[in-house]
Amino acid sequence: MFDPKTRVLVVDDMMTMRKLVIKNCKELGFSDITEAEDGAKAWEAVDKASPPFGLIISDWNMPNTTGLDFLKRVRADSRFVKLPFVMVTAEAEQHQVVEALKAGVSNYVVKPFTAQSLREKIEAVHRKITGAK
């Protein structure tokens, strides 16, 4: 699992969903959690973060800068090519999953989700980046 000291960025335009994801992240042991309400503010936070974020959990369907636009912006910056990015979304049609994978998403959580399913997706991302089994 990720080091509990990992800086986590939670992005969602809906306050209740941010609260839910943050609650789940705290249950997973994370304590350094920043929130942003849209993709533009999230990018600003990522760009300026020091120390950098170690995990992003973002909604897809947001006004103005969507989660997908935000993901593309993150991946276009050489500093963040490997930054773990989990997309949480109610949009689960196959073409959308493919679109997110092409854009470089690390994993994909479909709403509704439980704390357990979010944990499993985050653990899978950690295994992927560390090569752990």
């Binding site: 209740t16 839910l20 609650k23």
Partner: protein
């Protein structure tokens, strides 16, 4: 009203049951659907409305909660007690509707409806009621929980 057969509203029923169970730990049972106006409905305090468009029909889906049911659902979802519907809390109805709509959309699009993404709107107040601006009938799907009832209203008319 051709779209309002069982095959059309079943995905919303399943979406609502799955969403409330998974996200809010609430067991939900569907009661007998009825046409709006044929039976009294509870006093709703908050509703989320989402417009649906497809090449063959247009309509709206409305998710309506009495205050007690909504506050109970949010309390269980977020693990803290809420005593009033605040500005911060009200987007919860939009989120639940988004999730229900997202699940229903997958199934309906597999049936060939080509429903597009949509953004929900929140309506809040005392004893709010919805009224369709079309002549189309509105199907009410009543759901029963241990907290009380909540409803989904589906209004649809052909756009062809």
């Amino acid at each position: 009203m051709a779209q309002l057969d069982v095959a059309f509203f079943k995905p919303f029923v399943e979406g609502a049951m799955n969403t409330l169970k998974t996200q809010c730990s609430i067991d939900v049972n569907i009661e007998k659907p009825f046409i709006k106006g044929q039976k009294p409905q509870p006093e709703f305090a908050i509703a989320g409305v989402i417009g649906i468009t497809s090449p063959s029909f247009n309509g709206t889906i409305t998710l309506c909660f009495p205050e007690k049911v909504f506050l109970g659902a949010m309390s269980r979802m977020l693990g803290e007690e809420f005593k009033e519907i605040t500005n911060d809390l009200q987007d919860g109805v939009a989120e639940l509707l988004n999730i229900i709509f997202g699940q229903a959309k997958i199934i309906l699009n597999q049936q060939g409806h080509s429903i597009q993404k949509a953004i929900p709107t929140v309506v809040r107040g005392q004893n709010i009621s919805t009224r369709s601006m079309t002549k189309a009938l509105v199907m009410v799907l009543p759901f029963k929980t241990d907290l009380g009832e909540f409803h989904i209203e589906i209004c649809s008319e052909s756009s062809m």
